[in-house]
């Protein structure tokens, strides 16, 4: 009896040793070939959980492929993929809490390089063939990088952290969205001279300017949310990029309105933004729309883009921020055309045609 029990114990140990030899059997998604034409969806993932991802929707096949960065490169994208910009055949993925920018080839999402050494990068903006600016949430200035050599070349002291940037008329417009980590008011639009790499001017708007677009007339439209705690009324501004004058300000009616995600169609005539629902207006309108273009219902809209080829409004729904997100495609009359599951917190839609 006793001998049997000792044998059982030995057998259990043998089993344990063999068990530990077994290989992990998690299925790994197969490597991709080419992505084709369509749009990327950059999924931020949850802060500190490093579950960012990149999805791609092929408009020819009408098929969404998730985890394209991981499938090709066998590494995770990182911790909070904040934004992506395409330049030529390369995509620059700004991974905020990982403090780096990955460069990928856009045809298959394969790794082409990386720029390291940032603190909290948010957006990249190409200002010259060999110069790009990178905004940083935690630094009162903007990094100057060489997008070819993949090196940080300098730093522009602006006194404030910057967010989205846009090149217009050989000037760089930078939104000062946050003052959580840095001093200074977060209600301005700074104008940077990209030749001398210095702040040339500054325009006071409303709290938390979060997004901007350029219309076909050359006017800059800037959307301000009104602040983290709704300190001010949100507002939409139209700015003359030559004179830097604010030519129009449209205030949102309710103090709780917190609009974001301003985008524009490919003709440069129709603006779209999210204020829980999706709204649209033309560049000739002088008041904010009262009726929604698309009602959110149970959905939690988070980012928006206009497909210049398919002529569709593409909107992401983050649902509850911790499950898979969704991307929805709407025709220009607000009818839903298609939808696809994407990663966690789809935060930006980037077109690649």
């Amino acid at each position: 009896m006793k001998m049997n029990q000792v044998r059982i114990l030995g057998t259990i140990m043998l089993f344990m040793a063999f068990w530990s030899c077994s290989e992990d059997n998690q299925e790994v998604n197969p490597k991709l070939s080419t992505l084709g034409k369509g749009f990327f969806v950059l999924n931020q993932g949850n802060y500190t959980l490093a579950n960012s991802s990149l999805s791609f929707y092929n408009t020819d096949s009408a098929k969404m492929t998730n985890q394209v960065f991981y499938r090709t490169n066998k590494v995770p994208l990182g911790d909070v993929a904040q934004s992506m910009m395409i330049k030529g055949n390369y995509g620059y993925l700004v991974v905020n809490n990982s403090g780096l920018i990955y460069v990928i080839k856009t045809f298959d999402a394969s790794f082409a390089g990386k720029i390291e050494g940032f603190q909290s990068p948010r957006h990249i903006c190409f200002v010259q063939p060999d110069k790009a600016y990178v905004s940083d949430l935690q630094l009162p200035g903007i990094h100057v990088v060489d997008p070819v050599d993949l090196q940080i070349k300098g730093f522009i002291e602006t006194g404030k952290s910057a967010e989205q940037m846009l090149v217009v008329n050989e000037q760089v417009f930078a939104l000062n969205w946050s003052n959580y980590y840095t001093p200074g008011d977060n209600n301005t639009l700074q104008v940077i001279d990209p030749i001398e790499d210095r702040v040339a001017d500054s325009i006071i708007l409303a709290k938390e300017p979060n997004s901007m677009v350029l219309d076909k007339e050359g006017y800059l439209w800037v959307l301000c949310s009104g602040g983290f705690m709704n300190e001010e009324h949100a507002a939409l501004f139209r700015i003359n990029t030559q004179t830097l004058d604010v030519e129009m300000r449209m205030n949102f009616q309710n103090i709780t309105d917190s609009p974001f995600g301003l985008t524009i169609d490919n003709s440069g005539e129709t603006l779209y933004f999210i204020n829980r629902d999706i709204y649209s207006l033309t560049i000739n309108d002088v008041s904010l729309p009262e009726e929604a273009f698309v009602m959110a219902g149970q959905r939690n809209f988070y980012s928006i883009g206009f497909d210049p080829v398919m002529k569709q409004v593409i909107v992401s729904d983050v649902r509850n921020y911790i499950v898979d997100g969704q991307v929805l495609m709407f025709s220009n009359d607000g009818t839903i055309i298609d939808s696809s599951k994407v990663g966690i917190i789809p935060g930006q839609i980037i077109f690649n045609y």
């Binding site: 009896m1 006793k2 001998m3 029990q5 000792v6 114990l9 030995g10 057998t11 259990i12 140990m13 043998l14 344990m16 040793a17 063999f18 068990w19 530990s20 030899c21 998690q26 998604n29 949850n46 500190t48 959980l49 490093a50 579950n51 998730n66 991981y70 499938r71 490169n73 066998k74 590494v75 995770p76 990182g78 911790d79 990982s98 403090g99 780096l100 990955y102 390291e116 050494g117 940032f118 603190q119 909290s120 935690q138 630094l139 009162p140 002291e157 980590y181 840095t182 983290f228 705690m229 917190s258 829980r276 939690n300 649902r319 509850n320 921020y321 911790i322 499950v323 898979d324 990663g343």
Partner: protein
């Protein structure tokens, strides 16, 4: 190749063990020679008593290591010396109540306990309680209770114990205990210090290009002292004063994806606590009175600084968060035996808690009261029943009535098999962070309510010359208004009573102890299967209903074997943790699952006893197979590493 060789070594070790012991088995054994140092369960109770073999074997470790290798409790760890929390029966970290000398030590702000900061050296008894044994204590142990006790040793004379450890990655541990026990008084002091640089190498496959790195900014130092005074006041009274004081300083390393960040990031958590309990037990014929008062002060300091600017030394991020939690807990428990078949008890608990935090608008205060009454009746010689009624309420909140019922039976009098079944309700109040944190704290949160039932089969036979114990538990619990922190559209997270969580599963336990010739053999085996899912309406809408909750493994098991012969001892520890979900996203998206892992640890040592002096030398190899694994996503863990230890005891 090296990995295969190591597996072969383990196989050979296993074969050697079974071969050796089989070869040495005599036809007859002297049962009286068996020294029973602990039992798997207390007969007929819903309590698992961690064997002294484990406590002695893991004395230089923390409680997280001990429990993850000797019980069904799953530990989730950020790394060596890092935050480690428990998941008990499929519940979350703040559903495991930790009692130290019958007093809760769960932080009032978070509700959870960091098991990595509790040195096994500071405990004499470790119990794992569920059913009515858990219900009669303070609130919050929805999953169960871990009970740590210090025991008086009267008449023990002078005792001295010192141990020194050194190991890989700059780890050191020093332990000292000195005590004196007379017929009336026992005094004991214990001191420890543990530190590690923790700069272990790991292969970082979370960045491009993939490369070998060393863990950064992960060093820690924990140190503390425990003072006990036990005094027998006359023939009927026992007065105890115990003070546990500890200082834990640890730096916080980046996750694997974030190793390239700039900013000279300096991030740490320093915490110190002082826990004191004064208790008085009085025994009068068939009445026992236990009165105790405990006061604790816990201070936690989280610091984050990053720098930048022209000289790269300008502070650009500074978070300097300080948290001060105080608690005064008192209880009185009166138990009485009314005749030979009935015992009753009544208990009153009060917990007054306060928390000051940078992120609170004002000091968070709370007063909780519980009154518990119950009884146990031997209905038949083979069946007894317990009933426990609890009324519990917190300041400014309506109370709750919580019944608990338990039946124990011995179905066949000649077989030492116990069947225990229980059902009842428990309540956990939100942590003060859940209520008062700014932004996001939700003062309207309701307490979580658990309804649970379980059955336990416990068999404790002495088969020939081998003493062994089996345990098989099946449980089911439903937690209503489970609190979850969720992101909001205002960019901060907010706790909400959202989930309706069902946790069910079963647990297996086995312990065996015997003596074969001059060799002493001890083995313990644990396994648990857990299924925990959210079945709330919200989960159904989000398509997450029925999905295993994050960081709760389906399967968890461990094995411990120790052989000792003529002072030479060897032990082997195996730990298995099944795959775990790490997000609520669908399974078809990569990296939503953490792979299962198996760890093997072995140790060899020699005990030498000369008169009243005992010397012990031990060499330990951890993670023998150099397994790459993660307990928390993108938190690297060390590969194979080593510890040597020398211990001296004088009794």
């Amino acid at each position: 190749m090296r990995r295969k060789l190591l597996h072969i070594v383990i196989l050979v070790f296993a074969v050697w063990l079974s071969g050796q012991t089989i070869a040495n088995v005599p036809d007859t054994l002297n049962l009286a020679a068996i020294e029973v140092k602990g039992s798997l369960f207390q007969k007929g109770q819903m309590k698992l008593q961690v064997s002294n073999q484990f406590i002695e074997g893991f004395k230089g470790k923390d409680l997280a290591f001990l429990l993850s290798h000797s019980s069904q409790i799953h530990m989730k760890s950020d790394g060596p010396g890092g935050l480690t929390t428990a998941s008990f029966r499929g519940t979350s970290a703040n559903h495991t109540l930790v009692l130290w000398n019958e007093t809760p030590v769960n932080a009032p702000n978070l509700g959870s306990v960091d098991f990595s900061t509790i040195p096994v050296f500071f405990t004499d008894q470790i119990g794992i309680l569920w059913g009515s044994n858990s219900a009669k204590h303070s609130a919050s142990g929805l999953g169960g209770t871990v009970s740590l006790n210090n025991k008086a040793r009267f008449n023990s004379g002078f005792a001295f114990e010192a141990a020194q450890q050194a190991g890989s990655f700059g780890s050191f541990g020093s332990f000292l205990s000195i005590g004196y026990g007379t017929k009336k008084i026992h005094v004991r002091s214990r001191v420890f210090r543990k530190s590690a640089k923790n700069d272990f190498p790991f292969f970082n496959y979370a960045v491009m290009p993939q490369e070998w790195m060393r863990q950064q900014n992960a060093d820690f130092t924990n140190q503390g002292f425990l003072q006990e005074l036990h005094w027998q006041t006359g023939k009927r009274g026992l007065l105890s004063l115990i003070s546990w004081n500890q200082w834990n300083n640890r730096n916080l390393p980046p996750i694997m994806t974030n190793t390239g960040r700039s900013g000279q990031q300096q991030e740490y958590i320093n915490d110190r606590f002082h826990r004191n309990v004064l208790s008085y037990n009085y025994f009068l014929n068939r009445i026992r009175i236990d009165a105790r008062i405990a006061w604790s002060s816990e201070n936690q300091h989280y610091f984050l600084r990053t720098s930048g600017g022209a000289d790269n030394n300008e502070t650009v991020t500074l978070i300097d968060s300080k948290n001060q939690a105080n608690a005064l807990r008192s209880s009185i428990n009166i138990e009485a035996e009314l005749g030979s078949r009935l015992s009753v008890f009544v208990r009153f608990l009060n917990e007054a808690e306060s928390v000051e935090n940078n992120n609170y608008a004002e000091t968070g205060l709370r007063n909780r009261y519980s009154i518990i009454a119950g009884g146990k009746a031997d209905v038949f010689s083979w069946l007894n029943a317990s009933l426990l009624l609890k009324h519990e309420f917190a300041s400014n909140r309506s109370g709750a009535f919580l019944p608990f019922f338990e039946v124990q039976m011995i179905p066949v009098s000649s077989i030492p098999l116990y069947i225990i079944t229980s059902a009842g309700m428990k309540l956990r109040h939100p942590g003060l962070n859940d209520l008062y944190w700014f932004p996001g704290g939700n003062p309207a949160l309701k307490p979580e309510l658990s309804k649970s039932a379980d059955v336990s089969f416990q068999w404790n036979p002495v088969t020939g010359l081998l003493q062994h114990q089996f345990m098989f538990n099946v449980y089911y619990s439903q937690i209503i208004d489970w609190i979850q922190w969720r992101p909001t559209s205002y960019r901060y997270w907010e706790p909400v009573n959202l989930a309706l969580v069902n946790a069910r599963g079963f647990e297996l336990g086995y312990q065996a102890e015997t003596k074969i010739g001059s060799a002493h053999l001890f083995a313990g085996l644990n396994y648990s299967f857990t299924r925990t899912t959210d079945e709330s309406r919200a989960a159904q809408l989000e398509n997450t209903a029925g999905k295993q909750l994050i960081y709760i493994p389906d399967h968890h098991g461990n094995l411990f074997v120790r052989v000792e012969r003529k002072g030479i001892f060897a032990s082997y520890v195996f730990n298995y943790v099944g795959k775990r979900n790490v997000t609520h996203a669908s399974d078809d998206l990569y990296r939503n699952i953490l792979n299962h892992y198996s760890l093997h640890h072995i140790s060899l040592g020699y005990d030498l006893t000369v008169s009243k002096s005992e010397w012990s030398f031990e060499f330990q190899i951890h993670n023998v197979t150099d397994t790459e694994y993660q307990s928390v996503m993108w938190r690297p863990m060390p590969g194979r590493h080593y510890t040597i230890g020398l211990q001296y005891k004088f009794r």
